[in-house]
């Protein structure tokens, strides 16, 4: 009945990042101004998403090796929460873009790559719901998952760096680490990434356990 320590750690880290992200001194920059604080809210969504989708792929590999349907459930629920984080990342990014770049969406390589990546995972969810047979669904979606993740990583982290991009940290555009001379930003940013990732795993953990109980009930009937 005890709540696992890493869940509480995640909650404490996120609370710290939420509050200290508003209060911490920031570098004074034109255009960005106070919106640089979005670094503590928008960016951890993407980092958390990547770490959740990585967990999803690891469980897909596990399933293909051992054939345990529990691993399939874990893989699917981690992907669901990852997609949720990704959508939060897209929407918060759009608000930020409107107020700094002047438009909700630009045909920037970083943005289009992120959109394609999200569509790949929407396809994963549709693929899963379209196969009735459990074993078959687990196998097909595990293979799809294992191909999706590396492509997604290339799309959002590698390709945008090879061309010009508005997005910080891409295509000759400096990342925020270059403004963070005294590491005040890092002191909030890293806890935010770890905290949100743990919260994401917590939500996935709840969904996984719910699915396992449902599975057990179905087996009893």
């Amino acid at each position: 009945m005890v709540i696992k320590w890493w869940k509480i750690l995640g909650a404490v880290l996120v609370l710290y990042a939420l509050v200290w992200g508003l209060l911490t001194p920031i570098p004074k920059l034109a255009i960005l101004e106070e919106s640089i604080r979005n670094l503590f809210y928008h960016v951890p969504m993407w980092f958390g998403m990547v770490l959740l989708l990585l967990g999803s792929m690891v469980n897909a590999i596990k399933f293909l090796r051992k054939g345990d349907l529990k691993d399939d459930i874990k893989s699917a629920q981690l992907a669901n929460v990852g997609v949720l984080f990704g959508m939060m990342g897209i929407v918060t990014g759009m608000i930020w873009a409107k107020n700094t770049w002047g438009a909700y969406w630009t045909n920037d390589p970083k943005l289009n790559s992120a959109a394609i990546g999200m569509l790949m995972y929407f396809a994963y969810i549709v693929l899963r719901s379209s196969i009735e047979d459990e074993e078959k669904r687990a196998r097909v979606s595990a293979v799809y998952n294992i191909f999706s993740f590396p492509v997604f990583v290339v799309l959002i982290f590698i390709l945008p760096r090879l061309t010009a991009s508005l997005h910080p940290g891409n295509g000759g555009n400096p990342g925020f680490n270059s403004y963070d001379l005294d590491s005040k930003l890092r002191l909030v940013f890293y806890p935010a990434v770890i905290g949100w990732t743990l919260i994401g795993y917590w939500i996935a953990d709840l969904a996984i356990r719910k699915e396992l109980i449902k599975q057990k009930q179905l087996d009893h009937e």
Partner: protein
């Protein structure tokens, strides 16, 4: 010269005071309450699931 410096100093003081007393802490408190509420809800679902798992 001295009076210009004095006015600048005064302006700087007023600016810092305004920045720190715009009831910013109220928003911080509200965000804290919302997040604690959500975590509390997660904990309650977690406990209920633990009970179901024991059955």
């Amino acid at each position: 010269m001295n009076s210009i410096l004095n006015t600048m100093l005064l302006q700087a003081q007023v600016a810092t005071e305004q920045a720190s007393t715009h009831k910013f802490e109220v928003t911080v408190a509200v965000i804290t309450v919302i997040f604690i509420g959500i975590v509390g809800y997660l904990i309650s679902i977690d406990r209920k699931l633990s009970k179901l798992e024991k059955k």
